[in-house]
Every structure is written in structure tokens, then in C-alpha cells.
């Protein structure tokens, strides 16, 4: 906020430069604020417009009121969204899919990481190597072969093909190489003496995993939860291809309906706001955890 504070800034503004250019901290701060507008205004515009009728959205465009909650505000767009599509269903589907993916992912990946980090058995190094090697493969390269493949797989009731189910949107994304890697790294930092003591006490390995290691792994669990939740909630390409019925379709794919029917931008903004704002609120509330998770994804290189 103030120039003297800025002077202590490391790597950006330096005392030496400041004496020669006293305006520099102010310029830097102005730039920071300008960038805030660049990143924040479009989202503000989206939320504000969701409360306005279409005519007013277009009318406000050229002025500052485009970004302000002024004029005739109502929840009509929100009501319209729920009337036009089975939106409640879409939302519930998105919640089910992402929550189950995150939950199963934490259990399955942490168990695998535990085995790789705490237990000694032949083939361990190779398994870890293969898991890390798969990190480089983007999902998009194998999406089409995977689509063909899940259509050939026997389903739980004995029929063939997984298309148009919850399972096909969840199970392929439960095991995750990067989650295993994050857990593996974290488990390695928990002292092994704890296991030894517990073993002597007669605790089984599973018990050690459940009662000693996992309770200590809070930060890793948070990181994995965030890094699995975001792609699950935001996933688009896969549900677009594997869902046909509205009863299992997630909200991201549902937004396509609004491009097909006569377009109401107010409703689109309302739809977009509902599926975005909860995530934004979560992000702002758990900002530190979010930022740390993303930062930790940088260590893989």
C-alpha cells in the first residue's frame, strides 16, 4: 500500500533503484492494481450480469455499470436455468462424481504410496518408476482409445460397456500417478521409527497405515484432495463423450444446452456463476492450502 513498505521488497524493487527512481514503487503498485482488474473484472462481470435481464447486460456494456450491480436486478435468470434444464440433477451429479473420485482417490493412492514408501518388497523400484513415467502422458492422448476400451469392458451387472454410467466418470480417475507421488514424498518424511515401535507392539501394517501414518498426513491429504477435486469438478472432454442421459450428466457438460437453444446470456452467466462461485468461495477460504498444493505440483519436474 505504501512506498516505504515496498522498499523492502525482495527481487523486485531495491533500495538502490529507489533512490534514483522514487516513483518506481508507485508504478509497481499501479501495475499490480491494473492486473487485478484484468484478472478480476471478467469474473465480476459474469456474476453481476447473472442478475440482469439480457437487454440491460447489453445496454451496460460500454460503461462501468457493466461491472456494477445496478439497474433492475433479479433472480429471474437463476429461476430460468432451473426451469430450462434439469440443473439440480446436473449439480448433484457433479458433486457425487467429484466427491467420490476424491474420496476413493485418497484411500487408493495413499495405500499404494504407503506400500511403496514403508514396505520393502521386490519390484518396488520398478513400480515406482513406471508410475512416475506415466506422469508425462496427457489424458487427451489416450482419451479416444480409452473411450473404445470402456465400451468393451464388462460392466458390473454382466453386460458389456461402461458408457453412460457414474462409474465410467469416476473409476478411471481414482488411481492417479501424481497423487501417489505426493503421498509417497510425504510418507518418506514421517520417521520410520514410528512403524518399528508399532510393529513391536504387534500392530499390522494396515493398522500402522490407518492409525499412525494417515493421521499424520493431513497436509498431503489436503493437497491431493484439492488437486483431484478441481479436475473432477471441471472435467469436460470425458463426460462429453461418455454421458448420454441427463440423469448422470455433470454440470460442465450441461452448459452446452444453452448454446443450442435460443441464447440467453443472462441465463448462461447465472449457470456459470452457480458452478463457479462455490469453488471460488472454497478457494478464498482455503487459499493457503490451494496455493501450496499448486506449488507442490511444481516439484515434479
Amino acid at each position: 500500500m505504501t512506498a516505504p513498505l515496498d522498499a523492502s521488497a525482495k527481487g523486485v524493487v531495491h533500495a538502490a533503484g529507489e533512490k534514483r527512481r522514487p516513483w518506481l514503487p508507485w508504478a509497481v503498485q499501479a501495475l499490480r492494481i491494473a492486473l487485478c482488474l484484468v484478472f478480476g473484472l471478467p469474473l465480476l462481470f459474469m456474476i453481476v450480469s447473472s442478475f440482469k435481464p439480457d437487454t440491460q447486460i447489453f445496454g451496460d456494456l460500454g460503461s462501468a455499470s457493466a461491472f456494477l450491480p445496478v439497474g433492475s436486478l433479479s433472480l429471474d435468470n437463476y429461476q430460468g436455468v432451473f426451469e430450462r434444464v434439469p440443473f439440480a440433477r446436473f449439480l448433484i451429479n457433479s458433486v457425487i462424481i467429484s466427491v467420490v473420485t476424491v474420496g476413493l482417490g485418497i484411500v487408493v493412492n495413499s495405500m499404494a504410496a504407503f506400500a511403496l514408501s514403508r514396505l520393502k518388497f521386490p519390484g518396488q523400484k520398478l513400480v515406482l518408476g513406471v508410475i512416475l513415467a506415466t506422469l508425462i502422458v496427457p489424458f487427451e492422448t489416450m482419451a479416444l482409445p480409452l473411450l473404445w476400451w470402456v465400451n468393451q469392458l464388462p460392466y458390473f451387472d454382466g453386460s458389456i460397456g461402461w458408457l453412460d454410467t457414474y462409474e465410467v466418470q469416476i473409476i478411471p480417475f481414482v488411481a492417479n500417478a501424481f497423487s501417489i507421488y505426493l503421498f509417497y514424498q510425504y510418507f518418506d518424511s514421517i520417521p520410520k521409527e514410528l512403524d518399528e515401535a508399532a510393529t513391536v507392539d504387534g500392530a499390522s501394517w494396515f493398522r500402522i497405515y490407518r492409525s499412525i501414518v494417515m493421521p499424520l498426513a493431513g497436509p498431503a491429504i489436503a493437497t491431493v484432495a484439492i488437486l483431484t477435486f478441481l479436475p473432477a469438478w471441471n472435467s469436460y472432454l470425458w463426460p462429453l463423450m461418455v454421458t448420454q442421459s441427463e440423469s448422470i450428466r455433470p454440470a460442465m457438460v450441461g452448459i452446452d444446452y444453452f448454446k443450442q437453444m435460443n441464447v440467453s446470456w443472462g441465463q448462461i452467466m447465472a449457470y456459470a456463476s452457480i458452478i463457479t462461485v462455490p469453488v471460488l468461495v472454497l478457494f478464498v477460504a482455503f487459499q493457503r492450502a490451494f496455493i501450496n498444493s499448486i506449488a507442490s505440483s511444481g516439484v515434479k519436474g
Binding site: 500500500m1 518388497f121 518396488q124 496427457p138 489416450m142 469438478w233
Partner: protein, 311 residues
């Protein structure tokens, strides 16, 4: 723990025995705990990757009563003879070549701007990061409206007396429009990665440099930049792979048009493999895509490793 403390020397035998049995049981337990993840990864990752290679040489269809037949390199002949494919590949490469330096460079600027330990930086960091937690589908819809002929951007340009083009409807501006929007969405992500890299550089280096009278720019060139080598490699590889995977924006906003000017490799793979159900042909596109991603990653890794050795 209690037992080891209470019973000292006499208990060492049962303890050792207990340990030996645990070691023997370890392998079994290890594989058992690994099994769920291993099975899932084999079925939903390893097999599909191998299938990409296999299906690319067949005429497999998504839904077909007849089993797939081996057809040699027919898919590739058709692929390399297709103007749409070359156009899509070219678009993807242009997209990557532009967005990699732009996005990573601007993300570094953002990181430097919010690296300062002053009040308010946390707020700025949060705002710059907001688009990252917004889904690409939502961002695409939002920007589709902003890019309209009578949309937000042209209205703002109109205030400055500029008549903006129909950004997405004009084949000369459509790809550019996608680049700007994609960089806007993902920049905060790479800002955070740069930040975590910046924080690994010891503060004493900066103190020493400023004692030696190094200018801001000299400090950046001789302390910051070399200290970010690993971060740089990681960021280059992730942006490049993400750029080559471009799909959502295209599917939501332009459907590859106008005149294929925004068609991409993944968009073509989805169009042929999903809409037209030609899994074999789509797999050959995926395989080409896979080879490109692999090559790019290896080259980038090699280039940065080389620099590391020289120092």
C-alpha cells in the same frame, strides 16, 4: 513400545522373531496395498496407452458388430494426406509457440510483482489466481460473450473509438483470441509455480549482490534467472503439453472454425473418434500427438540439462 521398555534383554528373541516374520509378510502386504491402485492404473492408463499404438493400425470403430481388422498404415496415409489434419497441426503448433513464451514470461512478471513481502500481496496473488480455479468451460462461455461482435471487449474498444473485429468469427483473429483467453486463464497457475521457485533462492544472494552494487536488472540476470533453472524446465514442459492438448476452448467457442482456423489435433481426434466413431483413425491422430509431446518433453529436458552441465 511399552513392551520393549519393560522387558529388556530376555525379550530380544521374540522381538527378533517377530521382525523376521514381518519381513516375510511384508511383500504380501505390500502388493495387497498396492493392488487397487495397480489394477486401476493398468486397466485405465497402461492398457489405453498401449491400445493407442495397437488401434492406430486397425479400422476399429467405437460401436461396431464386426471386430476390428489390421489395416497397416492406412490410417496414417489418410492422416498425412488430409489438409484438415495439417491445418490442425499447424494451428496447434502456432498456439504452442506463441503461448509458451507469452504465458510463462507474463507469469514470471506476476510472480515477481507479488513476491514482495508487503501488505496486500496476498490479495493480489488471490485475484491473479481466481481464473485458475474457474473451469475452462465457464471461462470459454464468458469469453465467448466478451469476444462477440457486440460484446464486452468491442464495447470497451468502442469507448476508445476503435471498431473491434468479430474476434471469433474472423479466421484471422480467432486463434489469437483463443491464445489471449487461454493465457489469461492459466497464468495464475504458473505464477504460483514461479513463486515457489523464487522462494528457494536464498535471500543472502540478493544481499550480497546489492552490496556489490548490482542493479535490479543485474540481480535478476545473475541471481534470479539462474536460480530458476528447474522451475523453468517444469513450466516449459507443462505449458507445452497443455498447449498441445488444446480442446475445451475450441469445442465450446468455435468448433474448429471459421474455416478450420482454430481446429486442433485433439479437436480432430475427438471429432473423428467420438462424433464419427472412427476409433482406429482417431488413435492414429492420438499416436502422432503422443509422439510430439514425448519429443518436445525430451528435447526441453535435454536442452535445460545441457545448460546445467555448462555452469
Amino acid at each position: 513400545m511399552a513392551t520393549t521398555v519393560v522387558t529388556d534383554a530376555p525379550a530380544s528373541d521374540p522381538v527378533r522373531r517377530a521382525r523376521r516374520t514381518t519381513v516375510r509378510r511384508t511383500a504380501g502386504v505390500g502388493w495387497a496395498m498396492l493392488a487397487p491402485a495397480a489394477v486401476l492404473m493398468i486397466v485405465f492408463l497402461i492398457i489405453p496407452i498401449l491400445l493407442t499404438f495397437g488401434l492406430a493400425f486397425t479400422n476399429a470403430r467405437l460401436i461396431s458388430p464386426v471386430p476390428a481388422k489390421f489395416i497397416g498404415i492406412d490410417n496414417f496415409v489418410r492422416l498425412f494426406g488430409s489438409a484438415t489434419f495439417w491445418k490442425s497441426l499447424l494451428n496447434t503448433v502456432i498456439f504452442a509457440i506463441v503461448i509458451v513464451p507469452v504465458q510463462s514470461g507474463l507469469a514470471l512478471v506476476l510472480a515477481l510483482l507479488v513476491n514482495a513481502k508487503v501488505r496486500g500481496t496476498n490479495f493480489f496473488r488471490t485475484v491473479y489466481f481466481l481464473p485458475v480455479v474457474t473451469s475452462m468451460v465457464v471461462v470459454s462461455m464468458l469469453w465467448m460473450f466478451m469476444y462477440q461482435q457486440n460484446g464486452l471487449i468491442n464495447a470497451l474498444l468502442g469507448r476508445l473509438g476503435i471498431v473491434g473485429p468479430d474476434w471469433l468469427g474472423d479466421s484471422r483473429t480467432a486463434l489469437f483470441a483463443l491464445i489471449v483467453m487461454s493465457a489469461w486463464q492459466a497464468m495464475g497457475f504458473h505464477m504460483v509455480i514461479w513463486l515457489s521457485g523464487l522462494q528457494t533462492i536464498p535471500g543472502e544472494l540478493y544481499e550480497a549482490a546489492s552490496l556489490d552494487g548490482a542493479s535490479t536488472w543485474q540481480q535478476f540476470a545473475h541471481v534470479t534467472w539462474p536460480g530458476l533453472l528447474q522451475t523453468r524446465t517444469f513450466i516449459l514442459i507443462t505449458i507445452t503439453i497443455a498447449a498441445f492438448s488444446l480442446f475445451t476452448q475450441v469445442n465450446v467457442m468455435t468448433q474448429g472454425g471459421p474455416l478450420d482456423s482454430t481446429s486442433t489435433v485433439v479437436f480432430q481426434a475427438v471429432r473423428t473418434g467420438f462424433q464419427q466413431q472412427q476409433t482406429g483413425y482417431a488413435s492414429s491422430i492420438s499416436l502422432v500427438f503422443f509422439v510430439i509431446v514425448l519429443a518436445v518433453s525430451l528435447v526441453q529436458r535435454y536442452l535445460t540439462r545441457d545448460k546445467e552441465l555448462k555452469r
